[in-house]
């Protein structure tokens, strides 16, 4: 673990001491090397599922895909931010990279934590760099409101989680994930266990986000700069899913009837947010609501607590992370050229930037869960698991899949096809950096088709 953490930590002095010309290439190179080393985590060698074990951190098949995704995302964020930060003074560029690295550190430690206390502290730690990214480097005035919503939604739900974790430690004496998976049911009175269940999971449901408490997400995703949007969509939402999967272990005897309203809310959210996507004018807002929709499926799958549900949830989380991040990168390439996010003002890009249209096509097809991509694998496994739980869910999931296909194609057709607007006089050609960025998003997605067991999780 230290062989990843210490190089990541030392990226901070690297970003401060590198010369101006070498700042971005150096940090990019070193973060790629760190990603390479993090791929070693994907091999699960032990029967007990916990590998790379030390007293505070470990990886298991649930956390290692998320860890690799996190490490993979840092070079991609650096690559994506290079253009819009080129006009900032050098010190601010260094600060930006430092923020990204700090966020990376907190996320690695969160996913790798064995003590739930450390997970909680790192969960909260990831809020500060994200807040600073959104409110300082966002582009519109609404970013301040977005930062406030982001911080307060997350904190209002995670402070009860803190108290629940402390109460849990009081009752059972430990908060180590290695031990609580072996504990039996906890003796709590029947009315208190409702509160216990709700407060434990509320933080993660808000983070995922669940439909009723999702209002922070469109604001935060839209107002954040590209690196902020990428890390939010790809990893921070998955913190919620990961936390839920971990805490379900301790909560299992309590949760049988309590999860019903949340499953219904999640599934209804899938339908609702997909429908909202159909009526969006803002491209980033569309992608943000698409994230809510996919995460609604993940939330429902985790809440039903079957092995297939957890497997499907993890696969969809990884696949959605890569796809959503790629979509935000594509939206950013558009934004950097036209400085608008309104879709009707940026149509017909296929004529102007044909290769980018290919990436748009592949990414939109991934978003709508085209076989054989892991997006489909995840969605199919989740839909089957939900069907096994109750026949009626097929209405929601089927309609949701249909509307997802509709808005993904709508997004593609709006941005790529159609007449080029008359006001677009010149657009810079695509940079190789942008092609590289999208390739690095889509290549892992395509490669995962061949070996999905890497992101399968510990249920199988």
């Amino acid at each position: 673990m230290l062989k990843i953490l210490i190089p990541t930590l030392l990226l901070i002095p690297t970003s401060w001491l590198a010369k101006a010309k070498w700042l971005w290439p150096t940090t990019l190179l070193h973060s790629f090397i760190i990603t390479l080393f993090s791929l070693a985590w994907l091999k699960n060698t032990t029967e007990t599922n916990w590998s790379t074990l030390n007293p505070y951190m470990a990886t298991d098949p649930l956390s290692s895909p998320l860890l690799t995704l996190t490490c993979c995302l840092l070079p991609l964020m650096i690559l994506a931010s290079q253009n819009h930060l080129a006009q900032d003074p050098l010190v601010r560029q260094r600060i930006y990279i430092t923020l990204l690295v700090t966020l990376q550190l907190s996320l690695i430690m969160a996913f790798a934590a064995t003590e739930l206390t450390m997970f909680y502290v790192m969960f909260e730690t990831s809020l500060i760099p994200t807040l600073i990214l959104i409110t300082r480097w966002g582009n519109q005035m609404e970013r301040l409101n977005a930062g406030t919503y982001f911080l307060f939604y997350t904190l209002a739900s995670s402070l009860p989680l803190l108290i629940t974790l402390l109460a849990f430690q009081n009752k059972t004496g430990t908060l180590s994930l290695l031990i609580i998976q072996l504990l039996g049911p906890i003796p709590i009175s029947p009315y208190v266990n409702i509160i216990w269940w709700t407060t434990s999971l509320l933080a993660f449901l808000v983070k995922m986000p669940l439909y009723g408490v999702h209002l922070w997400l469109p604001k935060a995703h839209v107002e954040a700069p590209i690196a902020g949007s990428m890390i939010l969509a790809a990893v921070l939402l998955k913190l919620g899913g990961y936390g839920m999967m971990r805490l379900m272990l301790i909560l299992s005897p309590l949760a049988k009837e309590l999860c019903y309203p949340f499953i219904i809310l999640a599934l209804w959210g899938v339908l609702m947010t997909s429908s909202i996507c159909l009526g969006q004018t803002d491209l980033k807002s569309l992608i943000a609501y698409s994230s809510v929709s996919h995460m609604g499926l993940v939330a429902a799958a985790i809440l039903i607590q079957t092995p297939w549900g957890l497997t499907g949830a993890l696969i969809l989380m990884i696949a959605h992370g890569l796809t959503s991040s790629a979509l935000f990168c594509l939206a950013n390439t558009n934004y950097e050229r036209t400085h608008t996010r309104t879709m009707i003002l940026t149509r017909g890009s296929q004529m102007i930037l044909p290769l980018m249209a290919t990436w748009w096509l592949i990414t939109c097809l991934a978003n709508l869960a085209l076989p054989p991509l892991p997006n489909l694998m995840g969605e199919l496994i989740i839909i089957s698991a939900l069907l096994g739980w109750s026949w009626w869910t097929i209405i929601f999931t089927g309609a949701g899949a249909l509307i997802t296909a509709t808005y993904s194609l709508y997004m593609y057709l709006m941005t790529q096809r159609g007449p080029v607007p008359n006001h677009m006089i010149s657009m810079n050609p695509s940079h190789s950096r942008e092609h590289l960025l999208l390739t690095l998003h889509l290549l892992p997605l395509l490669l995962l088709v061949f070996k999905p067991t890497t992101i399968w999780g510990s249920a199988y």
Partner: protein, 350 residues
């Protein structure tokens, strides 16, 4: 101010607190409190501004009332009990009266109304002394009283956290915001006072570091309202960088030191099964966080004159080097980086 006078006053201030800290008899404790009050009054009134005079008057009246009540209750208790030991008070009425007097001295709800007005009226340095040093002596006395009626401390503690949060929401004057922040933090300390003296001391210590760092930063930027904070990015970029972290530390966000006292207080409360208290305190901390966040928006996260929903200040002050600014790096380091050292810090205090 005349340097000789300043030395005499500051020494008297230290002497007063030291007297109180080292006393076991109520008379000497009262004496120390009065010396401290009297010593700070010239410091408060040194600016010949009506608001400063008013602040000094209010402070004197409040502290004198509290001290008189303290003395009255202490003597009654001595009459009934036969001795005047601080640590062995037993009469419930007079214990409560003394507690209320000390809480009035500290400025906790519902006896908090003097705090914002007094701290607003004095200069930033004096406000620093009132917020940090003057809390130590009453706090130590509170620690030593053993038989306080527990609901009293709990209700006042929770009320202080809530009022500290709500009161600061509508303020634009920074000193008032820091006064309400002080009320809220002392409320947290009060919640845990009866149950763990070590944690209460630790919380007070961290609060003193954080508040000192904030006051010194504001003094350097010569900022007394939120508008005046908006131009720090042009004048003192390093302060602009760390100020949001300092404010979020006041708000109690990990991984900054301000999280440590809140975390341990919540842990202690849940271990004692005071979970509703812990929940209310935790949620009320979010109220304070909202105005700290607003301050950090003004300082760092929006570059005036762009994208700011507020007005900009017209005249630009340059940062000054105050005698206290050499303490700023130390205070800031302690405010930001103390969380990983918490276990060793706690063993030092227990």
């Amino acid at each position: 101010m005349n340097p000789y006078l300043l030395i005499v006053l500051l020494t008297s201030l230290g002497l007063g607190t030291a007297l109180t800290l080292s006393s076991t008899h109520w008379l000497l404790a009262w004496l120390g409190l009065e010396v401290g009050t009297l010593a700070i009054l010239p410091l408060m009134a040194q600016r010949h501004h009506p608001r400063a005079t008013e602040a000094a008057t209010k402070y004197f009246i409040v502290q004198a009332t509290a001290a008189a009540t303290l003395l009255f209750a202490a003597f009654n208790n001595a009459w009934l009990q036969g001795h005047s030991d601080i640590q062995h008070m037993s009469h419930p009425l007079f214990t409560s009266m003394i507690t209320l007097a000390l809480l009035l001295k500290l400025g906790l709800a519902p006896m908090h109304t003097w705090m914002p007005q007094v701290i607003q009226g004095v200069s930033l340095n004096t406000g620093l002394i009132v917020s940090t040093w003057q809390k130590i002596a009453p706090f130590i006395l509170l620690l030593q009283i053993k038989q306080i009626h527990p609901p009293l401390l709990t209700i006042i503690g929770l009320a202080s956290i809530l009022i500290g949060g709500w009161g600061g929401l509508n303020q634009t004057q920074l000193r008032k915001i820091l006064a309400y922040s002080s009320i809220a933090h002392l409320g947290w300390i009060l919640l845990i006072l009866q149950h763990s003296t070590a944690l209460a001391t630790y919380a007070l210590l961290i609060y003193i570091f954080m508040t000192s760092a904030t006051f010194i930063t504001l003094k350097k930027c010569k900022a007394t309202t939120i508008n005046m904070l908006t131009t720090t990015w042009t004048k003192a970029p390093t302060i602009t960088l760390v100020a949001p972290l300092m404010l979020l530390s006041l708000g109690g966000l990990p991984p900054l030191s301000g999280f440590a006292p809140k975390w341990f207080i919540l842990q202690e409360l849940t271990q004692l099964n005071f979970i509703p208290h812990a929940s209310i305190a935790a949620m009320a901390a979010l109220l304070s966080l909202s105005y700290y966040l607003r301050l950090s928006y003004s300082i760092t996260l929006s570059l005036s004159p762009n994208n700011l929903p507020e007005c900009l200040q017209w005249r630009v002050n340059y940062p000054i080097s105050t005698p206290l600014s050499s303490a700023l790096p130390a205070a800031l380091a302690l405010t930001l980086f103390l969380l990983p050292l918490t276990p060793s810090a706690l063993t030092l205090i227990i």
